[in-house]
């Protein structure tokens, strides 16, 4: 009996350890830094990023009778609940499910926009946007150019959850922004939190160019801020300086901005140096001016993103920075990113460019 009890407690002990390990494995690789500044004055409500996106789409459907929202499982609110309640509010003809076919969703959205409707398409995960690559790259991006401005699909916005989520493996973790950044005619935007998400999404929806709006899915629930309830937009093609300093410029977008904000704090605490942290926000067209002005001031530049290194968008930033800031650079431009592998499942903690990898590179950059 006693031995049985021991055995039992042993099993429970093992189980507890396992659960704890799992929690450790799944624990977030970043600390969320909420936005303190509000883009507009007026009433605010506490929203997570999912609610802020829902709010932006609610405003659009309310004010634009042509606007429709569609994709896989959007009808009941979406698998990430971003469309929650919108079908009940605006009807089945405005918020609806499509068949499970990404090229169809993108093509359908282009057609809606061509015929004068505002189209908000959802691709369930950015990992599954590739079947729609042809429609987005060959069609959406080139519609205005090839028709001499007669036709366009500027009223199309494609939303897709992107980025690491702790356990997404190969096909629920990707950050495909660099693939689209090579496509003139598209706008690619990634928000870092609820306030940015609402303002940038509304800007994308109203922008007269087709936009790909990549939503870091790990922020849907974990990021909470006081978001203005009223309508507002944030400018596309503009980066935001979130923290100012003198010793280096750290650039990123999406979740990784928060990793860099933490690294900046670490650098200040441990090394006594201050750095600029820039959220690029718009990947294409991107804000060369803000980034280059910062690097000219600090003389050092670290770029970080979750996506793989080779031909990641960091490469474009690095090339531009060295071209525009050559005489100001005190050290080679440094990139900290995902490795050049598919996004792994159990190895995620070693794959991500986390605070320690970024910190190590920053130290090297400062000591160069």
């Amino acid at each position: 009996m006693a031995s049985l009890l021991t055995q039992k407690s042993l099993v429970i002990g093992k189980l507890t350890k396992y659960v704890n390990d799992c929690a450790k494995r799944l624990s977030s690789h970043f600390i969320y830094y909420p936005d303190n500044e509000k883009p507009i004055s007026g009433e605010t409500t506490k929203m997570n990023m999912m609610q802020a996106i829902n709010n932006a789409m609610d405003i659009t459907l309310r004010d634009d009778p042509t606007a429709v929202l569609f994709g896989e499982d959007v009808g009941f609110g979406g698998v990430f609940r971003c469309a929650l309640g919108l079908q009940d509010k605006y009807g089945k003809d405005r918020v609806f499910n499509t068949p499970l076919c990404e090229q169809g969703i993108a093509g359908f959205g282009i057609g809606l926009a061509t015929a004068g409707a505002t189209a908000i398409a959802e691709i369930q995960f950015a990992d599954y946007i590739f079947p729609a690559f042809d429609q987005l790259v060959n069609e959406a991006a080139k519609a205005r150019y090839r028709s001499g401005g007669q036709f366009d699909c500027g009223a199309l916005t494609v939303r897709a959850p992107c980025g690491a989520v702790g356990h997404g493996g190969l096909y629920h973790s990707q950050s495909p922004e660099a693939y689209f950044a090579h496509t003139p005619g598209l706008r690619v935007v990634v928000p870092r939190g609820p306030i940015a998400a609402k303002g940038l999404l509304l800007a994308c929806i109203r922008e007269r160019d087709p936009c790909i709006f990549l939503e870091p899915k790990i922020l849907y629930r974990s990021a909470t801020e006081e978001v203005p309830v009223d309508d507002y937009t944030l400018p596309l093609g503009k980066a935001q300086v979130l923290r100012e300093g003198t010793s280096a410029t750290l650039v990123s977008w999406g979740t990784q901005v928060h990793v860099l904000l933490e690294v900046a704090q670490l650098a200040e605490d441990q090394l006594g140096v201050t750095v600029d942290v820039i959220d690029l926000q718009s990947i294409l067209p991107w804000d060369e001016e803000t980034v280059c002005n910062s690097v000219k001031k600090t003389g050092r530049c670290l770029i970080s993103h979750e996506a793989p290194l080779t031909c990641g968008f960091g490469a474009e930033l690095a090339a531009t920075v060295q071209e525009e800031c050559f005489l100001h650079l005190e050290a080679p431009v440094c990139r900290v990113s995902g490795w050049d592998t598919p996004f792994p499942h159990v190895f995620e903690p070693f794959y991500l460019p986390d605070r320690w990898r970024c910190y190590e590179q920053l130290v090297k950059l400062l000591n160069y």
Binding site: Q103, G104, F108, G111, G185, E207
Partner: protein, 431 residues
Amino acid sequence: MALRAGFTFVKLNSLRQATRLLSTHTRPDVCQNGGISEFPGAKAPYVNEIKFLNENSYDPIPIYRVMDSNGRVIDSREEPNIDKEILINMYKNMIQLNQMDKILYESQRQGRISFYMTNYGEEGIHMGSAAALSPRDLVFAQYREVGVLLHRGITVSELVNQCYGNCEDPGKGRQMPVHYGSKQHNIVTISSPLATQLPQAVGAAYALKRMPNNDRCVICYFGEGAASEGDAHAAFNFAATLDCPIILMCRNNGYAISTPSCEQYKGDGIAARGPAFGLHTIRVDGTDTLAVYRAVTSARELALSNKPVLVEAMSYRVGHHSTSDDSSAYRSVDEIQKWAKDESPVHKLRLYLEGKGYWDAEVETQFVKEARDTVVRAMQDAEKKKLPHWKEMLEDVYYDMPPKLQKQMKQMEKHLEKYSEHYPLNKYLNE
């Protein structure tokens, strides 16, 4: 009660048996007392006999025809009531199209334009369908539907300007020849990637459906080769599930470049896929302009009640695929001749018009000459025109030009100041 229910069941069953006897379908026998399944994915009865279905399980979808090969109406009840003026105009546009194809094809051979694609053998599909539509209906085309554009009133000059990419081309010389488009005529600009226009057309149809008091539909043309693309599958399924006012118009001309349709699909053409997606479907003789007209007229009525329709128009691609193709490398001249002569849609419509006393050999000769002159004049004019200003190369990428692109424009401007003699600037507009 049980007895009555039993009686009803027997009655129903015998009725079902009778229907099966009458129907052309061969289906496995439904089990006597299995009833209808409750699977959410299909409303179907159970059977207890194993039987696989294949392409021979159903009779081929028949080809709707109004005229025979001699332009004689087979069943007078099916003859459409088209005004004399419109009929003559349809035929004239066919001749105009043929002349334009002939001359522009030759001009490509002489290196005067870079590329061309003719429409031989498919004129009936263009004219029959275009005449059945409202000019406000939105057209999404593949590339071999120029007759539709002529019917909408786009002039030969406008088409030729596009082929030359001169400063009068609304597309500003950016696309290859035959990639026409006209906002004013509700014809969405053509692009090269095949079948991409299909789901787009469905989306556009959905947008029209949501407009108050909609009286417009969308027609989307595509070849049987393009129908193999994933986008075609997407479009068929989206059109059906979202109840879109669209006519999906397949031109089945037997070839996709060199690939014969027997290597394109194994089933009963494209039409057989329609009912599988829940689309109203018809197969029509594409060399019979009147049959196409009738089919599209009825299809349009269905479409406007938000019932999407698939029309498969059978035809034969008489010309080469394009100027970059020599089709004698993969098919016999005899085969081409048969379709060029005996089953020519132009010839059939001409015989029909002659039968009505609307047309004769003399008018024919005169109009052919007129059509030829129109094209030659348009080409002479188009050749004299300058190409658009080089800066048009960088416009319209975005609604507003991003700073980076502005920078690239300045870069090119500076470069041209220094190295202008190495560029053909005199051919282009200068400011």
